[in-house]
Each structure stands twice: as structure tokens, then as C-alpha cells.
Symmetry: C2
Subunit: 467 residues, 2 copies
């Protein structure tokens, strides 16, 4: 007898398929025994009939196994605990009247890997805090099953969006001798040599951004993007800060701030679209158990036009709000100030009631590489603000004028060591723009999870490292 190995993801697809070939294959499977492997989520047995929810790792949903006391070693199966790995041979049976569209009636089985009695993931619900402490086991819990599937789907959505739009993926270096945002909060990279400069010839650190490096590639390949880890050594013990996180940094040549914002809007909408339409089980889970308004909110963003508003207009709106009695933690609203999360959320949630790009920020509060506007006071920067979260993406048109950039770099004291970056304006430079998306925060946004520790496989924050 030949037994066909099957996986849950394929079975769910097959029973829903209208395609001729797939229907024929399903007919074949129904005629004979199938073979499935996975992990027990629950096992209940009333003596004459038992039910196991088996998750085989290939999709969010479990497969229902049914067994009765006629099978060999019935006693072993009826006592198999949550967490055990099973190899099962059984009959696939369609159950269109039941909650699940099919079940597998066990003919024979083998315990591939038993589970010790101190297994911390018992049936009952666990807090996210408790699960954070068992990061090696939590992928088996429903929440993290859904989160890490979504992480995979979003990573692929990012590549898909940029590849389909002709962007080239670039691996910018992580160990670096320079720093995009100004020194301070970087991790040092050292060896055990006595001389700290001996390995690379100078002190080096972990990158905070691949932008400067990727600009060199935009000026050869037009549209490019990085997607890789970046680091911050800040002791920020918040739910939104991590020491290590993935970032997407696209860079568009022959592009201005408007092109930049069009690209951001397209990218975010593509990711939301993939989440809603390619991960329906995961989204239902998040919507039911993590954040009740999630799907409605994402649908609204998907179908809204992202508005654009200047920083100066935003300041006026905030001042108006204060005048009308709105209380911010910081209600001293002045042009030139850095907006806090409360201000950003007020603009997107109360004023615009939807996603909005704030543009043209005061030059003093933004980075040296951003293009100086004609007014001499503001730069061509944009921050995308979305309801519920605040800032989701930051971007800017880059200063392409050699003399202007040189002066800004000298003023910022960062020209030394970055002469090559200035060079890019001397040798066939062009108008260009780019942006950065914190991938982990994007994931928080589409899942409704509100702690960055719960979207990273093994979180790296200012917490002690256990794994």
C-alpha cells in the first residue's frame, strides 16, 4: 500500500479548490490512507472516540484527527500530551457539515517525539509576558503562530512590491565606520586584539541605516532598496524601541519628494492588501483576540487617499487645538519644535482622520542630507502618520547640490570620512529621494500587536539577552 504524505496547507487548499486537476487529486487521496506529521495542540478522548487537534506547521489552522479504541496502541494515543510530535496514517474524510471541512480518521500512528510533563505550553491561555520568557517555544502558541507567519508574508510583500516596480535589492554593510544620523547611540564592534583599531584600521560600529551606502547604488541602478538589520544602542525601555530591528530603505533616482510619497503610499497599501487577502486566518485571529478594530482600520487605510500637509500647517492646527482647549502633555506648540507622538496622532486621528504625510520640516530638526527648500528654512522631508500608531515611515528628497551639501556636512561635522558620499554629487549626480520603514513597526501596525518584543523571533531590546 502506498501512503501519500500530505500537509495541512495543501489539504485546506484542495478541499476549497474548483480546479479539475486538484479535485481529481483530492479524489485519489480520499480513496487511500494518507500520512501526516505534526504537533498535538489538544487531545480529548471520551473512551470510545478521541479527537486530536494537530498542527503540522504548514498553516495557521489545525487538522482534526479522530480515533477510536479499535486502533493499535489506542491507550498510548489517548494519553498523548499537548506538544508531542506525531506521525499519523489515516483516512481523509470530508466533513462538509462540520466546523472543519475535513478530518483524518487515525488508522495507525507513531509518537515521533514525546513531551516532558513540565512542558510550559499547556492548553490554557498564557500571557504575552509569560510567553516572552520562553521565546524558543512560543512559536507554537496561536498568537506567535499568526505573528511569525505574518512576518514572513510581510517580508515577501516588501520584496514583491519593490521587485515588481523595478527596484534592485542591495545588501548594505552592517559593520561601518560612519553613521547616518550623527554619533552617540551606536554599538561598537571590537575584537579581542589589544589595539581596538587593529582589525579594520579604525573604530567601527553597527550601522543605524544603510541609506548613505545605498545612495551610491541608486546613482548607478536608478531604483534600489535595502532590507536588512539595523541597530540602536539606546536604553529606551519602551514597547516600540528595539536594539536590533529590520529596516527597508528604498532610494529612487530621478525622483523628488512627490515621487517618494507616491512610492511610500503604494508600498504600504500593497503590504496591507497582502495581509488582508493572503493571510485571512491570521488577520481574523488578530482582529478577534488582539485588536478588535484592526481589520476595519486597515481596510479604511487601503481605500483612502493619503493626504499631504506641511509641517507649518500642522503647527497651526495644533495651536488651534490648544486654543480650543485640547490638552497635550506638551501644549507649548511653536514652529521649529519636534512633534511628539501625541501631536502626530492628533493630526492623523482628529484633524485628517486618516493617513497623512507631513512635509517640509524645519531644517534644524532634520538630517543633513535632506534637500533644502527654496524658503531656506525647511527641508523636503516627509513623515507618514497613520491613525492608532503615529509615524510609520520617514523619507526625504536628498540634497543633490554639491555646494549646499558640502556646507551642511561641514556644519554638521560629518564630512570627514564621508567624502565619498559628497562625491556622488560631483560625478553625474541627480535629483533623488528615499525613505525608511521600520519593518518590525510595520508588523506591529498590521497585526495590532503593541509590543515590539512580540513581533521579533528573539527580541533584542534593552532587556537582558536570554537566547
Amino acid at each position: 500500500m502506498e501512503v501519500q504524505g500530505v500537509m495541512a496547507v495543501d489539504l485546506y487548499a484542495l478541499v476549497n479548490s474548483q480546479e479539475k486537476e486538484e479535485k481529481a487529486y483530492l479524489e485519489e487521496l480520499l480513496k487511500d490512507n494518507v500520512y501526516i506529521q505534526g504537533w498535538v495542540r489538544t487531545n480529548r478522548d471520551n473512551g470510545s472516540i478521541g479527537f486530536i487537534a494537530l498542527n503540522d506547521g504548514t498553516c495557521f489552522k489545525n487538522v482534526q484527527l479522530v480515533y477510536d479504541n479499535s486502533i493499535p496502541n489506542h491507550d498510548v494515543l489517548s494519553h498523548v500530551n499537548t506538544g508531542a510530535a506525531l506521525n499519523v496514517v489515516g483516512r481523509l474524510v470530508l466533513t462538509p457539515q462540520a466546523k472543519q471541512p475535513f478530518e483524518i480518521r487515525v488508522v495507525d500512528f507513531e509518537v515521533e517525539g514525546d513531551v516532558a510533563s513540565d512542558y510550559p505550553l499547556q492548553k490554557k491561555a498564557h500571557s504575552l509576558e509569560f510567553l516572552r520568557d520562553i521565546a524558543h517555544l512560543r512559536p507554537r502558541a496561536n498568537t506567535f503562530n499568526a505573528v511569525f507567519r505574518m512576518r514572513n508574508a510581510m517580508a515577501m510583500a516588501i520584496h514583491e512590491y519593490f521587485q515588481q516596480n523595478g527596484f534592485m535589492y542591495v545588501h548594505t554593510p552592517l559593520i561601518t565606520g560612519n553613521d547616518a544620523e550623527g554619533a552617540g547611540s551606536t554599538f561598537n564592534v571590537t575584537t579581542n586584539d589589544k589595539d581596538p583599531n587593529s582589525f579594520f584600521g579604525k573604530p567601527v560600529s553597527l550601522t543605524v541605516s544603510g541609506q548613505l551606502h545605498v545612495e551610491a547604488f541608486a546613482l548607478a541602478f536608478r531604483d534600489v532598496y535595502t532590507f536588512g538589520p539595523t541597530f540602536r544602542a539606546e536604553h529606551s525601555n519602551t514597547v516600540r524601541h528595539a536594539s536590533e530591528f529590520w529596516m527597508i530603505e528604498p532610494e529612487l533616482a530621478f525622483a523628488d519628494l512627490n515621487d517618494d510619497m507616491d512610492c511610500i503610499e503604494g508600498c504600504i497599501k500593497h503590504c496591507i492588501n497582502v495581509a488582508l487577502h493572503e493571510c485571512p486566518d491570521e488577520m481574523d485571529f488578530f482582529n478577534n483576540f488582539i485588536d478588535k478594530g484592526l481589520k476595519e482600520r486597515l481596510h479604511a487605510v487601503l481605500h483612502s487617499e493619503f493626504k499631504r500637509m506641511t509641517y507649518t500647517e500642522a503647527i497651526e492646527e495644533l495651536q488651534k487645538a490648544v486654543k480650543n482647549g485640547h490638552k497635550f502633555e506638551n501644549s507649548d506648540i511653536k514652529w521649529g519644535m519636534d512633534l511628539q507622538s501625541e501631536h502626530e496622532r492628533y493630526i492623523t486621528e482628529q484633524v485628517i482622520k486618516g493617513p497623512v504625510f507631513l512635509i517640509d520640516y524645519p531644517k534644524e530638526i532634520k538630517a543633513f542630507y535632506m534637500r533644502l527648500n527654496e524658503d531656506g528654512k525647511t527641508v523636503a522631508a516627509c513623515d507618514l502618520l497613520v491613525p492608532h500608531v503615529g509615524e510609520l515611515v520617514g523619507g526625504s528628497q536628498r540634497e543633490e547640490r554639491y555646494d549646499v551639501l558640502k556646507e551642511k556636512m561641514e556644519k554638521a561635522g560629518c564630512l570627514k570620512g564621508l567624502e565619498w558620499y559628497l562625491d556622488l554629487r560631483k560625478y553625474g549626480g541627480c535629483k533623488h529621494a528615499g525613505f525608511g520603514i521600520g519593518f518590525d513597526r510595520l508588523l506591529m501596525y498590521v497585526t495590532g500587536i503593541n509590543n515590539i518584543r512580540d513581533v521579533q523571533p528573539f527580541p533584542r531590546t534593552s532587556d537582558p539577552i536570554k537566547y
Copy 2:
């Protein structure tokens, strides 16, 4: 007049397309002026007619611009230098009799970004060594144009292969408190705090492998893979060693060494297939200018079955070779020795004449997590050897038996801090296997480039860091 913006990659696709819609679109383009932006590669003008090879970054090939002295500012265009960025309006004309299938006859232009006269990338050919010193400009040279396009294509080929086969992408951490291969050659990560343990609660380093972490995910999601940067602090000044490089580490649950090798073979063949069929211009370039035998060699691998041979058989073959007069640098061939590159290449090039997996290595020369074979002397490891390169991929079935693994970890002195890894064998463990592919070396293999410094955007080796 509406002028349609065009890109080289689309024009080359359009003129070769047989699709009705695309042919119609091309007809439209031919009726009116088009707009293209890019960088001058060469410019020659005989006074009455001039030719510019323009590369717009969207594909390997240049676009031919033709201009005569009737255009406005003819003098400016005829003196535009290699490297300058141009905005061009012109007529698209098909030239089926010429070397290139179309050209653009310049109607008007603008110099978007001029180029200083000390531009280091003049028309003449430059050595790879010279170009390495201008890493910010070398993406504009033909070799690196081809290399970094291929790097993008191979990165996508990797994702494609694993996603299509149901693997889930996992971001394992880069900052780590442990170490897969034994201590020594890692970079330390520190902050400027006085106490080196203050940030993460213990000394941490940059990861040498995501394998241990990703195993935890395989035991929840079945088939998973990492694809991210890894690090080695070795002072190995060779053409094949880098301090920072990208690695692919798949892990397969419910899988043994044979499943592992099937997956490796499928993955490598998929990558070669993508290189040969989706990057024909780049492959022609490599085959003509970098490595004459490249395409033939890759075609041969694509169509050959990967053989399998035990380490013990390989030792016998090497001993036979020595007996027959073959000279190795190390000709003292003994069971238990670690094979050198010369030995590996002899096996794959002279004995097998094709790709071969060596399996079942002595346990003493392999890592603690590899599964002990029934003979008690060897472990279920495999190295894929390929002609011209030697080892390309290394993998193994993992030790899934709790007691055996515990003993091996105690012996290796690595149990402390890795109790969680041992835990995975206690809570629903299963037979599993995985492998690692050095992405940069894979790229060297498919391009024929023989120095790892020439396949990384900004190389990180034991050389001083300039960028």
C-alpha cells in the same frame, strides 16, 4: 505634446515582445517623443552626427542615443563626458538592421548632473583592484553592473525557491549571547558604558550562524529558513573569506540527511537555472570577460545528478591517488583528517567529474549538533563539493536524541546558556536536518568572480574599512 517616460528595461522587452498589447504600446511610443534619463557611458561625435551610450540603471544594456548638429545646444551635448546624468527627449526608432534593436534620436536634452573632470571611471578598462578602491562608483562599471544585478537575482531566486516549497522566512538575531561553532572568532558588541555587561546583562557578540535559533522555529513551522548577515572575526586575508557575509540557513522538520541533500540539490539547481535563463546578458558578460568556461560548467551541473559518496570512500580515493603518484600539498591522507580544498577539488573534479555530496564525516571534525550515526564514529553530515570551487554547501541531520545531544554538549562545554536548545528535544522534538549556504560564495560560483571583495557592495574583510 505629452511625452511618455520610458526605461531601457521596458524598451528592450517591448521590441522583443509578440504580445498584442505590448506591440500596440510600442506603436504608440514610435509615434511621439519619449523621455529617458540615465548616465553617459560613452559619447563620440564626428561633427555632423554623435552617439551616446546611455545606461539608465534599469538593465545591463545601454540605450543608443543619436544626435546631430541641428539640436539646441548641440555643442553642450557633444562635449558631455562619461558619467554625466542626462534627461533626454527624443524619437524612438527601430533599427532592426543595426547591432541594437532601437535607438533614440535626440530632440532636446538637459544635463541633470555634470561630471567633474577627475572622474575616475573613464572609458578605458580598469582593473578589479583599482575599482575596489572606489566602491562608491564601481557599480557604474560593466563588471559590477552585472555582478550586483546578479546578486539581486540570486537573492530573489533563494526566496522564490524556499517560498514555493513552503518554507517560512525567519529573521534570527544578529546580536547573540551564544555561538554555534565554538567560541573564538567572533566580534564583540559593546557600548560606551563602563560595565561591558550593562546593556544586555552579559557579554554579547555578532552571530556566526542563525541555525540554533532557527531550529526552534522548524519545530513549530516545519520548514523554515534564515537569510541574513553573519560574521567572522578571522584575520583570513584570502579571496574567499569575509568578516561579514550573508548566509542562507534552511531547517527541515521531519527530515533526514537524504531529504536535506534533495533540498540542497533543488536549491542550487534553481539558482543556476535563474542565472542562466533570467540574466542572459549578465551571464554572457561573465562568460566572455570573467570566466570562459562558466556557462558550460553551470549547464553541466544543472543537468547532472548530484552524486553521493561517504567520507570514508573519499579517503580511499585520495589514498589511491597518492599511491598512483598524484601530489597534494598534504599527501598524508588518513581517516579522521579534515579535508583541504585540494582534496575536495580532486574528488569532485577528477574522481566524480561533477557535483558530489560527501557524507558521514568523523564526529571529531564536525559540530556537536550533528546526528551520531549507528557506527558511533561518524555523523550524518554532508558537504556539497562542486568542480572549480570545492565546498559550496554544508549541512547535517541534527541530533534529535535528548541524551545523546546532552552528552555531546557537555563534552563540547557548550551546554551552559544553551539549555533552551537542548529543551527542543524534550518537548515534541523530531527528526530534522538543515544546511548553510554562503550567499557571497554562491554568487562567486555563478558569476565566475574569484574574489569575494568583488561580489559584496561594500566588502567587509580583514582589509581596512574605507566606506
